[in-house]
């Protein structure tokens, strides 16, 4: 489990046992042959890749079940894919129907549909299959690009 020491403390209201923190990180090219480096998103230009990260933690005393984390794609960003070594989210182009990109379609103005592309994605969602024990935490992320 990943500690939260590096994250700014934004504590959810005491009544909610789940603490949820999001960060936007710029994806800068690493040295040759190495993975990209993530840095705070400060100098961001159209076309720049970035990673939107969600970190969650059960601060309550009881286990959390049926955890669903949902993230609308912010205006100005386009979805690009999941982050390596992390679960790939379900996607949606309308906020109601979720699934992998391959099954999603976009209605055309003149009628009919076309296959959805990554740029059409408006929402991502993860469903956690297992219960989150008290004190348990985790991290999820997806990659995006500045439109």
């Amino acid at each position: 489990m990943i500690p939260f020491a590096s994250l700014a403390a934004v504590v959810a209201a005491a009544a909610a046992p789940l603490q949820l923190e999001t960060r936007i990180l710029a994806e800068r090219p690493g040295a040759a042959g190495t993975a990209p480096v993530l840095a705070p998103a400060r100098r961001m230009l159209p076309g720049d890749p970035l990673v939107v990260e969600l970190a969650y933690r059960n601060t309550g005393a009881a286990a959390i079940t049926g955890l669903v984390l949902a993230n609308p794609i912010p205006q100005g960003l386009a979805y690009r894919g999941g982050q390596p070594d992390m679960p790939v989210p379900d996607l949606s182009v309308d906020g109601s129907r979720f699934g992998p990109l391959a099954v999603l379609t976009v209605a055309l103005p003149g009628g009919g549909t076309r296959p959805a592309t990554a740029a059409d994605v408006t929402h991502v969602r993860w469903r956690l299959p297992a219960a989150l024990a008290a004190g348990g935490s985790g991290r999820l992320a997806f990659r995006a690009v500045v439109r």
Binding site: I24, R42, G95
Partner: protein, 375 residues
């Protein structure tokens, strides 16, 4: 948002139902680059169950500001060399400057007449005089002196293109002047104030601590003219080039006409201009401009009164000097049916002799002759 407010909003349902209407981001698919200054903010929602009670939690909001990605392009509209004449004034060359920045910018314009050797083909051995730069105000791409007067591009929106005219005069005759080259530079400048010329943009230094709420200036333009050209990558500038060639030189062309009596039917030597005498008229056209040929030189002459044209006597392409034909050229049919470098005809109705010479090389003269009999 406080937790009680959230619970009020989302109580009893899943967060997703609310999210579906919360973010109408679908219309984004084909939009251009996000404008500089746009605040991108992300908020996630969690819904879950604790001991059978459904709950929701909203995350914090992470934000950043989209910075200014300065990019521009300049191209010359005419790809070929512009043909000009000596002394021609108001020669217009058209360029197009495109703002590929994710913001509205001004663009400053300068002209250079001394270009790196080898950048363009052709000679660069004279400069245009009285060079002005004006911007196409009405957007029609055609220079209109009454309207197009601005010297810089004001408030060009993202992804928009504006025509720029470079206007100059060609110097008067100069045998050494055969070609000229110019370059137009567009410099991205601060926009935002209509009618005000902004200062050139300065990129935010890479080691400047970025205030997240501040719009950094980042140059992202290419080197659009290769190693030889003036432009460099990431300099917030673009260059385009055009060339001029003096193609229709105002050569010094002169025609001399002489007449000589060939025979008078009486005299054995020194024939006189008696009735019935045959007279040869000789026209020599001299091109006094060295090294520049005169093309399609046409000579016309009306057969004098009291004389009669001798059919079939027209000869073009002969050798002559100072108005005297030394050697006849190609015999030309009177009906104008001839082909080749030398042509001609005789029109009996107008009594006009026409001779056409495809080319009079620089510094040479070519003769045409015809004969008449004195009535």
């Amino acid at each position: 948002m406080s937790a009680p407010a959230l619970r009020c909003l989302l109580s009893g349902g899943t967060a997703l139902a609310a999210l579906a209407t919360a973010t109408p981001a679908f219309a984004q698919a084909a939009t251009p680059a996000t404008p500089a200054g746009t605040v991108v903010s992300n908020t996630a929602q969690a819904s879950y169950t604790v001991n059978g009670n459904a709950q929701t939690t909203a995350s914090n909001t992470a934000t950043f500001v989209v910075d200014r990605k300065v990019n521009l392009a300049a191209v010359a509209v005419q790809s070929a060399t512009t043909s000009v004449d000596f002394g021609q004034t108001g020669v217009v060359t058209t360029f197009r400057v495109t703002n590929n920045t994710n913001a509205t910018q001004d663009f400053l314009l300068t002209v250079a007449q001394l270009l790196p050797v080898g950048l363009l083909t052709g000679a660069d051995n004279f400069d245009l005089d009285n060079v002005r730069i004006v911007v196409d105000a009405d957007g029609d791409g055609i220079y209109n002196p009454a309207v197009d007067t601005a010297g810089f591009i004001d408030e060009l929106e993202a992804d928009k293109t504006r025509a720029v005219f470079v206007i100059g005069d060609i110097p008067s005759s100069n045998p050494a002047a055969t070609g000229a080259q110019i370059g137009l530079q567009a410099i991205a400048a601060v926009g935002g104030a209509t009618g005000t010329q902004g200062a050139p943009l300065i990129p935010t230094p890479l080691n400047t601590v970025n205030q997240d709420a501040e719009i950094d200036v980042v140059f992202a333009d290419n080197d659009n003219d290769g190693l030889l050209g003036f432009d460099a990558a990431r300099n917030g500038r673009a260059w385009a080039y055009a060339s001029f060639a003096v193609t229709t030189t105002n050569v010094s062309l002169s025609v001399t006409k002489s007449a000589s009596v060939l025979s008078d039917g009486v005299s054995i030597a020194n024939p006189k201009a008696l009735p019935g005498a045959v007279v040869q008229y000789c026209l020599t056209v001299q091109n006094a401009t060295p090294s520049t040929a005169a093309a399609n030189v046409s000579l016309t002459d009306i057969v004098p009164a009291h004389t009669t044209y001798v059919p079939g006597s027209l000869s073009v392409g002969g050798i002559g000097a100072n108005g005297v034909c030394l050697l006849n050229g190609v015999s030309i049919a009177d009906n104008g049916s001839g082909t080749g470098a030398y042509r001609g005809s005789y029109d009996a109705g107008t009594r006009t002799v026409t001779a056409t010479i495809a080319s009079v090389p620089g510094g040479t003269s070519i003769a045409a002759s015809f004969r008449v009999t004195i009535d």
